[in-house]
């Protein structure tokens, strides 16, 4: 066991997979000599050489496209987006080429596209994206969003070994803010499996990414009033652990979905619909959603705080849910 930050967990996952499998390589902007804009790939070029840690022009289409082409040839590329916001530049390549390749022509395209996502660090409108919902309606992709260092490492390893294109959403707010003791052995966290972060019986908070810590704070607060909240850390957005969600709702009969992306058309809409379709009879109250306002993430700290979900907004929603 050794104490590891979230960002070190990502670096370790890449390094261990590159050492384990010579087909794995990293491609992106400033990932080589500089070690990545956030130093996520620090030390990798020294260890694996420029042939496997490839600095590219500022060309997200070329990064994802070259990764996809190499993947068809049997390689296991990791494509880094310097900020996950820039994945939109490669949206066509991802949703039309990489995502459809296996279904259309039977050619697996095992790429990982990863990059720093999320707000709370005053990155402004172009450096704070939570992109999951943009990709949910494109069959063929997998989407994961770890909230812990343990999951960051285990899910990245699983993503690299997966035969489908995986969008790996790492939350930059967590990079150096959380530290955990990680096992020294080679482990993976399976894609598609949620983690019941806290067991409870009165309501379910369904969330992922950095919002799990907001859920923790709210659950601590509720505890003082004798309310026991169950927290599901979804970890995988696509495919998602429907069984875990439905089981929890069947037990608590109340659910609030919490995500950092804007409300309208957010991933929470899909989960709410699924719960309404499959667990309607178990519900004692309407499904609640707590999410960002429908605005681009603003730069100024008070504006950003007003736009993003937080403990107070979550608690207000939960109080309504409990009073229903």
């Amino acid at each position: 066991m050794s104490e590891t930050t979230y960002i070190e967990a990502i670096t370790q996952a890449m390094a261990e997979e590159m050492a384990r499998d010579e087909r794995v390589f990293l491609i992106g902007e400033d990932v080589g000599a500089y070690g990545g804009a956030f130093k996520t790939s620090a030390g990798l070029i020294e260890r694996f050489g420029p042939g496997r840690v490839i600095d590219t022009p500022i060309s997200e289409i070329a990064i994802v496209g070259a990764a996809s082409g190499a993947a068809l040839m049997g390689m296991r590329p990791i494509a880094e987006m310097q900020f996950i916001d820039f994945i939109t530049c490669a949206y066509d390549m991802l949703v039309n080429f990489a995502a459809t390749s296996r279904y259309r022509v039977g050619s697996a395209c095992p790429i990982v596209v990863r990059g720093p996502a999320g707000g709370g660090v005053h990155g402004g409108p172009f450096h704070s994206l939570n992109p999951e919902a943009m990709f949910m309606n494109r069959p063929g992709l997998k989407i994961v969003a770890p909230g812990t260092a343990y999951d960051a490492k285990g899910l990245l390893k699983a993503a690299i070994r997966d035969d489908d294109p995986v969008i790996y959403i790492e939350h930059k707010y967590l990079y150096r803010r959380i530290k955990e003791n990680l096992p020294d052995d080679d482990y993976i966290v399976p894609i598609g499996k949620a983690n019941i972060r806290r067991k409870g019986k009165d309501l379910t908070i369904l969330t992922w990414g950095a919002m799990i810590y907001v859920a923790d704070e709210a659950a601590d607060e509720l505890q003082k009033d004798g309310v026991s909240a169950e927290i599901i850390d979804l970890r995988s957005i696509l495919p998602f652990d429907e069984e875990a969600i439905l089981e929890s709702v069947a037990k608590t009969n109340r659910v609030v979905i919490l995500h950092e992306a804007p409300l309208t058309g957010g991933a929470g809409a899909e989960f709410a619909a699924r719960i309404a379709e499959k667990a309607f009879d178990y519900l004692d109250a309407p499904i609640k959603r707590v999410a960002a306002l429908d605005v681009p993430t603003p730069y100024s700290p008070p504006l950003e705080a007003a736009a993003l979900p937080n403990k107070a907004k979550l608690l207000a929603a939960i109080r309504e849910l409990l009073a229903y």
Binding site: S59, G65, A66, M93
Partner: protein, 303 residues
């Protein structure tokens, strides 16, 4: 004697075989289209089959080379080994087609297994993908070359430029043929670019640019072969402009009303001249045209 660029009599006959095979297969598809047995559109390569075959013939598929066609380069995947029956099944959306009815026409093929990869319809995307295929080939020390087709329209996309630039910077073993057939659907080249030639697009990224007459089959073979050799020797990316004509509309439904009448006349005159050029391809080496035709027909029956 015409210059045959080191091609043997058998190789010349081979090229002639693929030219005829492409034309005959397309004529069969037209018949199926008119019987409403082709489910989607039918895109003719008329006028472009010569350069498609000749360019692909410059590759070494045993070495693992990969060709990526556009819709009018069916001839190139036949050279790579695609089976005519599979192409017909694809057009007819049959369950026993290579994509089991999921994809259309020549959108199929695996680069490693088949030596060709069908394009996606956002054509510019294929240049970054081919960059990745050749990057993998280099990582795997396989010394393979990639040949990507793009057009006067597709080379306007951002994806084309990103892939072209990346491949050039990385000195990847990639040859890009930019077919200049004068129309992207209905849009003429002068509305795509003000570059004097499409080969000039190579200047901006530092690649090698060259232009060749697409109606001269052997000239296309020679220019592609030289580009492939450079690529295999680590001398970088070539953008080869192939000047050609699209003799039919974008697809069978398109009557080309937007093409000026005088240009239609010019183009048919050019294609009439292109046909004797193919005959010369055989006759120039002292082969009787009839004999060549007989040989290709019999091969067609065997295939």
């Amino acid at each position: 004697m015409i210059e045959t660029f080191g091609l043997s009599r058998d190789q010349l006959l081979d090229i002639e075989y693929y030219l005829k095979l492409t034309r005959l297969l397309e004529e069969r598809l037209v018949a199926l289209f008119r019987q409403a047995k082709v489910i989607g559109g039918l895109y003719r390569s008329l006028g472009q089959e010569g350069e498609s075959v000749a360019a692909a013939y410059a590759l070494d598929f045993k070495q693992g080379d990969v060709v990526q066609p556009l819709i009018r380069n069916m001839g190139s995947i036949l050279v790579a080994g695609a089976r005519p029956a599979d192409i017909i099944r694809q057009y007819m959306a049959k369950g026993n087609s290579p994509t089991r009815g999921r994809e259309l026409n020549i959108h199929f093929g695996h680069p490693d297994r088949d030596g060709f990869i069908g394009q996606i319809s956002m054509l510019g995307d294929m240049i970054p993908v081919m960059a990745g295929i050749t990057l993998a080939g280099r990582m795997q020390k396989r010394n393979l070359v990639g040949l990507a087709f793009i057009g006067d329209g597709g080379s306007s996309t951002g994806a084309f430029w990103e892939g072209f630039n990346f491949a050039t910077v990385q000195r990847l073993p990639l040859v890009i043929i930019v077919e200049h057939n004068h129309y992207a659907y209905s849009t003429p080249t002068e509305k795509q670019t003000l570059a004097n030639t499409l080969a000039d697009k190579a200047l901006g990224v530092g690649a090698i640019g060259e232009t060749v007459d697409g109606n001269d089959v052997l000239a296309v073979y020679d220019a592609t072969k030289r580009a492939v050799t450079r690529a295999r020797n680590g001398e970088g990316v070539t953008l080869l402009e192939v000047k050609t004509f699209r003799l039919k509309g974008h697809a069978e439904h398109d009557n080309q009303s937007y093409v000026p009448r005088e240009m239609v006349g010019q183009r048919s005159a050019r294609s009439v001249r292109a046909a004797p050029r193919r005959e010369r391809l055989c006759n120039g080496r002292g082969l009787q045209g009839d004999r060549a035709t007989r040989e290709t027909r019999s091969r067609r029956r065997d295939g």
